[in-house]
């Protein structure tokens, strides 16, 4: 049953006019102060993220705990942004130029943030796969005395681990880590998949995103129309919109750099923050550091820059070497060496075990907040008498 039998053009473009809200008077000074404070707070928060290694306790860049801090920073900025821009806002103010263009652009970015959150959250699940392989290796190599059997077992797990880490995320969701290597490279051909499915090809569902979706492209389109307000505009509401937009893009960019996510080639290119923005210096610093790391890794195609995964990769490689050279009962020195590495690997696993789920929960919280803010902005726009936009 169709909801309407009327001509579609009829309520197609609803013009909603409400009575004009009395505009705030005498708050202009206060508002300017608030805008300045917003910028300052953003600057402070990101400075804390950039804290130098000498500071203790510190979180290594792009580690799980650092990312969790990043999520907190985002949530704080977002809350302040909402207070500055949305709460108690006279709707007509945000429908005037230049906001009439900037706000819809902002809303588009918000939608992309939502999709990226979903993709990254699913990417965290992929990282958990790595964790599980590592745990097998740890459990095998922790058995005393170390025997050929357990070392073989560990080696198998470590191979899977490395394969998972270095898989190319362009490979259309085929995340090799969930496919355990056959111990003898065998192919299955008895009654396997029916019809057109080639035997032995497992499509994992660790990624839940659409086929042609690309994290890198999303981020690129988020900053493609991001232009710092100039002149008179820079003291008005365009400024916090710009600041928050930069924060959004940066945070998403960092997340995508760290966590495996579909299609990230070209991630580091072109995303620049204008150097003259004083409040963005820390962000720029982080951008450079992370960007450098990304360039190094990009060629090899990796599961991302998550600090724990990076360390896992190194340890994995080293331990495979150890495993290859091991014969029962093994040499004392090498065994000691290996034990240290295994302990480190175990530590990483524990961090993952403790941190990944909370990280996902924070990402989910970011998702909720952005949904809510977006809705409030949309309502504000509608109150201003704007005709409903075809985009969105």
């Amino acid at each position: 049953m169709k909801a309407t039998e009327t001509q579609p053009s009829f309520l197609g473009r609803i013009s909603i006019r409400r009575n004009q809200v009395m505009s705030m008077e005498g708050n202009h000074e206060q508002e300017l102060q608030d805008l300045d404070l917003f910028q300052k707070h953003v600057s402070d928060r990101f400075a804390a993220l950039l804290s130098s290694p000498e500071d203790l306790p510190h979180e290594p860049l792009l580690s799980i705990s650092w990312l969790r801090k990043l999520m907190d920073v985002f949530l704080c900025c977002e809350a302040e942004f909402k207070a500055v821009l949305i709460t108690g806002r006279d709707p007509t103010q945000i429908s005037k130029p230049p906001l009439d263009r900037l706000i819809p652009e902002f809303l588009e970015r918000a939608v992309k943030v939502l999709d990226i959150c979903n993709a990254v959250s699913s990417g965290v699940d992929s990282v958990r796969q790595c964790q599980k392989f590592a745990e097998i290796a740890v459990s095998a190599l922790e058995t005393k005395p170390m025997g050929d059997g357990q070392v073989k077992r560990a080696r198998k797990a470590l191979t899977s681990l490395l394969s998972a880490i270095t898989s190319d995320d362009r490979d259309n969701n085929h995340f090799k880590s969930t496919e355990r290597a056959w111990s003898f490279g065998r192919r299955v051909n008895q009654g396997g998949f029916r019809k057109d499915k080639p035997a032995g090809s497992f499509r994992s569902l660790s990624m839940v995103v659409a086929k042609n979706w690309s994290a890198a492209k999303q981020i690129q389109s988020m900053f493609s129309n991001l232009v710092a307000p100039r002149g008179a505009e820079s003291t008005g509401l365009a400024s916090p919109v710009y600041v928050m937009s930069v924060v959004m893009v940066f945070v998403m960019w960092a997340l995508v750099a760290a966590i495996p996510c579909q299609e990230r080639s070209g991630l580091s290119t072109h995303f620049q923050i204008p150097r003259q923005l004083t409040w963005a210096q820390s962000m720029i610093g982080l951008l450079e550091k992370i960007g450098e790391e990304w360039k190094k890794k990009e060629k090899k195609g990796s599961a991302g820059l998550l600090e724990e995964v990076q360390r896992m990769e190194k340890l994995g490689q080293s331990l495979i070497e150890f495993a290859d050279g091991f014969h029962f009962p093994g040499e004392a020195e090498k065994l000691e060496d290996a034990a240290t590495q295994v302990a480190e690997l175990a530590d990483i696993c524990m961090r993952m075990e403790e941190g990944l789920v909370p990280l996902q929960q924070q990402i989910r919280e970011v998702f909720h907040r952005v949904v809510r803010s977006r809705r409030e902005v949309v309502e504000l726009l509608e109150n201003a008498g704007a005709v409903s936009q075809p985009m969105e």
Partner: protein, 621 residues
């Protein structure tokens, strides 16, 4: 393969050696033959032999009799055995990953969509032959979804809407159990879960594709046309029911069967490995819909989605019971609440749209305005969905302050409407603002009579629609219906006054008599003037108002009768009294153009919406 030496293992070292031999024989990294075959595809003896060998080795592990080099050998043998068992496990799982035929279920053309939102899915699910070996799948009974009343049961096995299927036949499950037990006993739980999850996940993926579940980003969904989305939502609702009640439930059952009694919560871990990703993918679509831009046209599909999810929620709670599945349950609940919010928001949007709808184009002939039709259709549908909406709509309409004097919003006196549900209040409010808007539109007609006729038509239409729908009538109440009646009757009266006073003016008594006696003191010129004016006026009215339209036949009749009741007696009386005066003069036919019958006929032309010829039928001589 060498024939087995003997089936009985001696205790101690010999027993181990025998077992070790068997295990090493099947080590595919060293034996070509072992690569080619799977143990569990060989005869049962081979299988039993191998499993016994594994058991023997495990016994040796815990036995204190072996140490030093012996211990190393045992450990090594364990690893070989476990690696092999892992492969066997995978192989058995793979051989049973035929995704069961869901085509019929998802594309069933006869499953109907009730307007209350409840859907019957797969009522006539048929097992399709010829698509391959489906013996594994017991699909002989049609998957029938009992109607929503079954959702209160907490025990999942008795919930009639969940239908678990056997994804893997008994003997397969038995084999998998035997392997799982041994792997877990040897500390290879992680490998076991990992293999299980990766194979089953692919199977679920394949089923998803069959069900047509797409991966769409939120951005994609924002950009799609609504009618396309409507189809997708419909499809999603069907698919989601199959997923939760059959697909996921069956996977859960499979995990339970395989891992029952083996360790704690291993079945939960395997189940979540298998379905977490797919479940998130499934719900992401509904979530995207729940946060999309709101517009009135979306109301009913959103309600359908809401109802379907509401209906599914108990089953979701049951299937995703474990702690590790918290996020899935929470997401489903969040989506439900967002959909409810969306419905409320849309109702609000709709009300504003009705109030502010700005089109000034006049409906020709004063007939029913498209806005009236649209709105009445819409609220009829709202009444159909009342079961859901009554729960969701919890606050009264914001009608602005009473007597605010705001000319852009009507006032509504809520005090006489105590005791009504908020939904009913909203419906009444919508009718109030519809009329308000229509009044404003009626002012666009230059002709005041037409404005009144327009209002009469439209209010009458509203009245008819309300009266014709049980639910609407019950919610809106007979009191308000009476008010509507009063309104359209008043409009009819106003119309008559606006038109006919002017026409009947020419038939009045005053001004025709010169002072003096009654019959001889009639001014002939005045009389001739009267007749002429009456004729012209009437002709004009007749010509114009024949084009007007009163679509409702009964109303049309009533109006015409009412007109006749005033017009005909007045004309007859006038004619009767004064015709002789005209007929005694020259060219009476120029003045007395019409007989009473002519006029009676002419009235029948009114409000038909057809043009009439210039000249009325003349009085035939």
């Amino acid at each position: 393969m060498e024939p087995p030496e003997n089936n009985n293992f001696d205790d101690g070292v010999d027993g181990f050696e025998e077992a070790e031999k068997i295990v090493l024989r099947w080590d595919a990294t060293t034996s070509e033959e072992a690569k080619e075959k799977m143990i569990f595809n060989s005869d049962r003896e081979e299988v039993d032999r191998y499993l016994q060998a594994v058991d023997e080795i495990q016994k040796s592990m815990s036995a204190a009799t072996i140490s030093g080099d012996g211990e190393e050998k045992v450990n090594y043998a364990v690893q070989i055995a476990m690696a092999r068992l892992e492969d066997e496990f995978r192989s058995i799982l793979l051989s049973h990953t035929t995704a069961f035929e869901l085509d019929s279920v998802s594309m069933d053309p006869s499953s109907s969509v009730h307007s209350s939102g409840a859907e019957t899915t797969g009522d006539e699910y048929e097992h399709e032959h010829g698509v391959g070996d489906d013996e594994d799948l017991q699909l002989t009974d049609p998957i029938r979804r009992a109607d929503s009343s079954s959702s209160n049961s907490t025990s999942y096995r008795s919930t009639s809407s969940i239908r678990e299927m056997d994804l893997i036949p008994q003997d397969g499950v038995f084999d998998l159990r035997s392997i799982a037990k041994r792997m877990i006993a040897s500390g290879y739980l992680r490998e076991c879960i990992q293999v299980y999850g990766s194979v089953r996940k692919s199977a679920v993926d394949a089923s998803f594709r069959q069900l047509g579940i797409e991966k769409l980003s939120i951005g994609d969904i924002q950009r799609l046309e609504w009618d396309i989305l409507e189809t997708k939502i419909k499809r999603w609702i069907r698919a989601a029911k199959v997923c939760v009640r059959i697909l996921f439930a069956s996977e859960k059952k499979l995990c339970e069967h395989i891992f029952e009694g083996i360790g704690t919560a291993i079945d939960d871990a395997c189940f979540m490995e298998t379905v977490k990703g797919p479940a998130v993918q499934l719900f992401n679509f509904a979530e995207a819909i729940s946060i999309s831009r709101r517009s009135p046209e979306k109301m009913f599909k959103i309600l359908d989605l809401h109802d379907a999810l509401m209906d599914l929620l108990p089953d979701i709670e049951v299937v995703f019971q474990s702690k590790s599945a918290d996020s899935v349950r929470v997401q489903a609940a969040e989506i439900l609440s967002r959909l409810a919010e969306a419905a409320r928001g849309i109702l609000s949007e709709f009300e504003n749209a009705v109030l502010r709808e700005p089109s000034k184009a006049q409906v020709p002939g004063g007939t029913i305005h498209p806005l009236t039709r649209y709105v009445m259709n819409y609220i009829s549908l709202i009444a159909d969905y009342k079961q859901t909406l009554i729960e969701l709509i919890m606050s009264r309409p914001s009608t602005g302050s009473r007597y605010s004097g705001d000319p852009t919003t009507p006032d509504m006196d809520m005090s006489e409407l105590e005791g009504r549900t908020p939904l009913a209040l909203h419906l009444i409010w919508i009718i109030v603002i519809l009329q308000f808007n229509l009044e404003a539109k009626s002012k666009n007609y230059k002709d005041a009579s037409l404005a009144h006729l327009f209002m009469m038509n439209n209010v009458h239409y509203i009245f008819q629609k309300v009266r014709g729908s049980e639910e609407l009538r019950e919610m809106i109440g007979d009191d308000y219906l009476k008010k509507l009646t009063g309104k359209f009757r008043l409009a009819a009266t106003n119309y008559q006054r606006a038109t006919w006073v002017g026409v009947l003016y020419w038939l009045r008594d005053e001004g025709l008599h010169v002072s003096g006696s009654f019959s001889s003191g009639v001014s002939k010129s005045a009389l001739r003037e009267r007749f002429k004016m009456f004729n012209t006026t009437f002709e004009e009215v007749h010509r114009t108002q024949a084009l007007w339209l009163v679509p409702d036949s009964q109303l049309r009749e009533e109006l015409r009768i009412s007109i006749s009741e005033k017009l005909i007696p007045a004309y007859r009386s006038f004619l009767g009294r004064f015709r002789s005066h005209i007929e005694s003069g020259r060219h009476p036919e120029n003045y007395i153009k019409y007989s009473v019958e002519d006029l009676e006929m002419a009235v029948l032309d009114f409000f038909e919406g057809y043009p009439v010829s210039q000249h009325l039928r003349r009085r035939s001589q």
